[in-house]
Amino acid sequence: MSVFNQSRSTIIRLIFLGVFVVIIAQLVNLQLISGKYKKLAMDNALFAKVIYPDRGMIYDRKGRAVLNNTIMYDLVVTPVQVKDIDTTSLIGLLGIDTAEFNRRMIESIVKNGRFRPTVFEDLLPDDLYAKLDENIWKYPGFDLVERPVRQYPFHAAAHILGYVGEADSAAIKRSNGFYRMGDYVGKTGLEQYYEKVLMGQRGVRYIIKDNKNRLQGSYENGIYDTMAVAGKSLRTYMDIEVQQLAEKLMGNKVGAVVAIEPRTGGIIAMTSGPSFDPNLLTGAEKQINFNKLFRDVSSPLLNRAIKGQYPPGSTYKPLGALIGLDEGVITASTGVACSGAYYGCTRRLGCTEKWAGHAANLRLAIAWSCNSFFSETLRRTIDNPTFHGSKGGLVKWKEYMTAFGLGHKVGVDLPSEDGGNVPDSSVYNREYNGQWNACTMVGGGLGIGQEKMTSTPLQLANAMCIIANKGYYYVPHFVQKIDGNTPEDTLLNRYTSKHEVLTHIDDASFETVMSGMQDVVEAGTARVAKIVGINICAKTGTAENYRMIDGKRTKLKDNSMFVCFAPRENPQIAIAVVVENAGYGATWAGPIASLMMEKYLNDTLSTARLKEVERVAAADLLPSYLTREQYKQDSIRAFNYFKITNDTGAIRKFLRRERPVAPPVPKDGAVPVISNDPMIKPKTTYKMQKTATIFLS
């Protein structure tokens, strides 16, 4: 045994031990303390493949599917597999150039890397799909992938249904990471409002991938996978045939129609003119079509039924009558001597009817829509001695109006509804410095549904429901039932409770007003709306129509309005129609409502009435200012494009074309507006640079 240098044996042992301790310390750090490596390993090795569920369907009241899910195809590319392909023929098929091809390739590599497929061209049109499907073997790395897409067999109800589109970054942020880039979400309409129901539950399949992102098979035999649950379907109150009819009748018109079933609050039809075919917003051309619709100054994307704020005009009169009756300021036999104008307040207020006795009692006043009578009624309501002053009266009046569902959102199951306006004392206090009385507003026309009062067509239809129901209503809504809905789902709860807002008004008052409204059709202003065998209660409206054109408030042709419900004995449908810029209520709005009621109540239209449908549908009532407005917008856009790109082609056509002139003077003698817009000044020199400066100014 050597004793020589033996102590160094211990040192060597200690060196060994020390190094092992260091290694173990690092292992403790990596394996026990630092948790991030587990996650990193999962991220490395697992690919969570999202399985998209089928989106729920939407059915109308007769069980017809108003939309379908069909399959379209995306062309996807896996960059790493693209080798020696015939690029020329592929870009020929796709109709793009080499630069665009290269740009998309680089974009897909940047987006998803070389090893994972990225969408190269989405939602291929059928003919292109057919061509590609035949030749796809020629292009290794390219593949056709299924994608479920909405389709609308009835080509109707675009505004109600809404559309689906890729979730934008704001929506992704709002959803707390629920949605991901490329997910489809409902953008407007029922698609958006019932997104959670329609969307279903996404499934996830965990797939193991290797270091090159090649998928290797399911992870742990799929025990962590979740199945996709298909979206639930919606059963609506909509009658797609009535809806189609409404859209046809509103063709080439600006305005809106709402039809509600008073008993349930279920919306039978709702359209906004101008409308569009919902199929435009699915499929390959959707972006192009959307841009067209978006740039159209007649705003076809706008749902005027819930966003259009119109003065109700004479359609307010039945409500005014009921308020007066309930407050006791008038009775059924109250009469006003009207000879064509109301002089109760300082300002003269004209009335369409001049013959004596057209306002001898309430029923007649409604039938002949006497402005004097209802101005007087409102004046008495507000100056009601019970409240000692106009303020109390106005508060009471506003209370009634609120009960009628005006001045606030009614709560339909569509997103972004507007509430209209019912003025209260604060507005007048501000405007008249507290110095106002009933005549301030009656003189302005509040008694005949103008002045500061605005409402949406939906609110008008809902107010009709309240009259038809003699005081109660259900919040108007589309969806009757969600298929397979559990009681915990509370989405529809708010539509099942009865709002008995005005049931305290006695039946006699309702009957009187209804009789007046029936006379409107039987003998009064809206005899065109009469349907044989059905007792219709209706009210026409002809509301003044102002609009800002070229920066000036211009009076245009009146809005044609019509509200009604039928049959009187057992109301099944209540309708509100607004046709902008169309004159008397009975001229256009009346026939539209009448045809819809007949279609809904009789389930069919007689041959004679079909002719009427064609006549109304063919009438082009688009306001003339739209053409000029469109030209203006397009030329401004073209000029902005020219500024960015220096592409003179964009603005050249606006230099040559005949420019539309300022809108014609309305017939009823409003002051013609002479625009000082430089664009319509005559004899502009058509030189490129010069015009550019003109556009700038």
Binding site: S9, F16, L27, A45
Partner: protein
């Protein structure tokens, strides 16, 4: 190898034999876990000899036969032929230059046909160990003399230099582990301490900006002079020493290290060293461009070497208990490169977690401690030196290999003893260990 056969088994240290068998078994299992693919017929796989785990099993069998032969050999044979083996090893190493075949970037491998290949640099460790033990155990060697120390160092360093010339720096570094043997035999500790200090200085050079490091060194030197001012007054030579040490340090930091990194080492080796300490390596030619880029775009941080990162993820994701055999996602789906050979420890770390890694390290430590115990009980200097040589080589391999997989050492391609895939390595380690077992069995005999 039956215990009943007194001719072989007498005096054999069975603990070492069992530890060896356990480690080889763990190795085959780990290679199986990394290379087995779902749906393969296991029996078929083992019999076909086409899979890596079946080949490693075959190597294990060959190693067993070889071990038996070694145990049957007279231990005097090893002492008698030690120098001969060394000469043979050097010749073999030199033969590589004309006969090497290019296998993945190294030029250290000789191929015999297509099936068998030999890496002399691997095998040579055994011969160097024998030769060094022989030299140190000579009666005429007085290891206190510098000349003897230099000869001993040369025995280890010459094959190392040849190996570096074959671009196998990793294998070459192993030869420096023999300094541990020399240390045991009386090499002044100062040599090791100076060596260690230089290593620290080199690492510091890489980590600390050059000017700051120069200032730090200067401050240390001035501080030393200040605190030792009384001694310095008495002995002027001390001042000269301190100043010359300072000059050498700054010289290393300023000139030697940049020279070695830019001129001697290859860019990939430098990059690996930089990766380990977590810095970006910019090749000399690209430095000017890099500076301009940094000025314009600003600095960008790259995260270490891909291999080490993936290897750390693999081991780290094992957690306490591991994911179980065949369940490691990192190691089974090719995220970790070279996982059969150099990064085999990842498989253990991912599949069996901290407990598995700890046990494996425990087995290694037990092996090392046992070898040192055996070394100290030898009556012959030759056996003792040889045993220390075995311990040093195994220790160096384990340390560098595991440290590189857990990010503590640069990526140096050396195998994990008994476990990594590779015939030459397994056979070399087997021979190293079983020659020791044979020598130990004959420890009562006096050998020279």
């Amino acid at each position: 190898m039956s215990q009943r056969n007194p001719a072989i088994s007498k005096g054999v240290d069975w603990l070492l034999v069992w530890l060896y068998i356990i480690l080889v078994a763990i190795g085959v299992m780990a290679i199986f876990a990394t290379t087995y693919r779902e749906g393969e017929d296991v029996v078929q796989g083992f019999l076909s000899l086409k899979t890596d785990y079946s080949r490693q099993s075959l190597f294990a069998v060959i190693a067993g036969v070889l071990a038996t032969f070694i145990l049957l050999t007279d231990s005097k044979f090893f002492t008698a032929t030690a120098n001969l083996w060394y000469a043979f090893g050097i010749v073999l190493l030199l033969l590589v230059f004309p006969f090497h075949s290019d296998v993945k970037g190294t030029s250290s491998i000789i191929k015999f046909g297509s099936a068998f290949q030999l890496q002399p640099a691997e095998l040579c460790k055994l011969f160097v160990n024998l030769a060094l033990a022989k030299f140190l155990s000579r009666v005429e060697t007085d290891f206190k003399k510098t000349k003897s120390q230099l000869i001993a160092a040369a025995i280890a360093v010459v094959p190392a230099l040849i190996t570096i010339a074959q671009s196998e720096t990793g294998l070459a570094l192993v030869y420096f582990s023999f300094f541990l043997v020399m240390f045991r035999e009386g090499l002044p500790a100062a040599v090791l301490i100076i060596g260690f200090s230089i290593a620290v200085l080199v690492v510091a050079t890489l980590l600390v900006p050059p000017n700051l490091l120069a200032i730090i060194l200067t401050v240390i030197a001035q501080g030393t002079i200040y605190f030792m001012r009384r001694q310095v007054k008495r002995n002027r030579n001390l001042l000269v020493w301190i100043i010359s040490i300072w000059v050498v340090c700054v010289g290393i930091q300023r000139f030697a290290v940049p020279f070695i990194f830019d001129q001697v080492l290859r860019p990939y080796q430098v990059k690996r060293i930089y990766d380990t300490i977590g810095k970006d390596y910019v090749p000399k030619d690209a430095r000017a461009a890099q500076e301009i880029a940094e000025k314009t775009v600003g600095k960008k941080k790259t995260d270490g070497d891909y291999n080490v990162k993936q290897s750390k993820i693999a081991i780290g994701s094992g957690g306490l208990f591991g994911k179980g055999l065949l369940n490691g996602t990192q190691t089974r789906y090719d995220f970790v490169p070279e996982q059969r050979t150099d990064f085999i420890f990842c498989t253990v770390g991912e599949g069996f977690g901290f407990i598995g890694s700890f046990l494996l390290l425990g087995i290694y430590l037990l092996l090392l401690m046992r070898i040192i115990t055996i070394a100290e009980r030898q009556r012959s200097v030759f056996s003792r030196c040889y045993a220390y040589g075995v311990a040093s080589v195994i220790f160096f391999h384990i340390t560098i290999n595991i440290c590189m997989t857990i990010g503590l050492a640069p990526v140096i391609g050396i195998p994990l003893p008994f476990i990594s895939y590779g015939g030459t390595a397994l056979l070399t380690f087997t021979m190293l260990l079983f020659v020791l077992i044979r020598l130990d069995a004959d420890r009562q005999m006096v050998l020279r």
